[in-house]
Symmetry: C2
Subunit: 199 residues, 2 copies
Amino acid sequence: MAYSVPSLARLIEQFERLPGIGHKTAQRLAFYVLDLSEQEAKAFAGAILEAKEKIKYCSVCQNLTDGEKCSICSNAGRDKGTICVVEDSQDVIAFERTREYNGLYHVLHGLISPMDGVTPDQLKIKELLTRAADENVKEIIMATNPTVEGEATALYISRLLKPMGVKVSRLAYGIPVGGNLQYADEVTLMRALEGRNEI
Amino acid sequence: MAYSVPSLARLIEQFERLPGIGHKTAQRLAFYVLDLSEQEAKAFAGAILEAKEKIKYCSVCQNLTDGEKCSICSNAGRDKGTICVVEDSQDVIAFERTREYNGLYHVLHGLISPMDGVTPDQLKIKELLTRAADENVKEIIMATNPTVEGEATALYISRLLKPMGVKVSRLAYGIPVGGNLQYADEVTLMRALEGRNEI
């Protein structure tokens, strides 16, 4: 039998589809939901529907927003001359947590990956080129992940941007702070050596 | 800013309340939901509401069901003389997976735990006593977890059942199959010795 109750089986199935959630965890989460009060369950379901309904892409940077422009693009205090290009909105959150970066972002919503059938025209590259054409833009920082796809995407975009006369930079590679040299891989160590700074 | 979009923040908060889901995982799940199609998101929210609305306790064994009696209690092929007493419905699923047990269950929906303010009258013990009074019931197996609360609950219930003349048994303790003697704790090893069987 396992799950003789169809509505329970359906709920477990829904949780199981979430990334990183296996069958046992899905079961635990479903049972947790059953223990919620009527009102709490409604709030949970409502949050899913509301987020899905209200959240769309910012017309400028393609970040998530529930308005026309996101809070970063509409913030007058941010430096409009710098654009940090990232893979997705979660990367924006990561950068914002540093509280150091004061420029704008551009969210690509993916990386070029011929293996997965993702071609440049499926990403928000056209929108980036339009923004880069603005003469106020001084520098574009390629902040994609240091993976094969991330590197390829950064290279592809920088080749499109260079002829436009805008400065294009890439995040520094090196030893992560708090890391251990013994456990660093050879490529990272090599890049850390290459990128050494005078102290 | 972190989450400048209120509906996104609310969705992350809802996921964060689930057991075993930390902030980063909640964020990942919320972004996954945003990537779902309109229809998929509706199915997810619908599964939560439907499960919450339809699922209630079986009138006999207190297991989860969407009808009046659960599929186990209404199955004529099951042995009505044996009742396995478990903490919650997930334990029923665990036993059913063995495909060995053919009796009925009784779900307590908790364990006696004075520390957490759970007293016997908050559990489905009264319902168990009513069932035990039926003369067809031959044996009641206490299958609560081998924890302090589980042991206390099993002892408490068995003391109530014994005067009724019904046989009360407890799950065997011992080395888990595939386990390693070196890593078994002293109490388990002692119990395994005590419960040794002739081969």
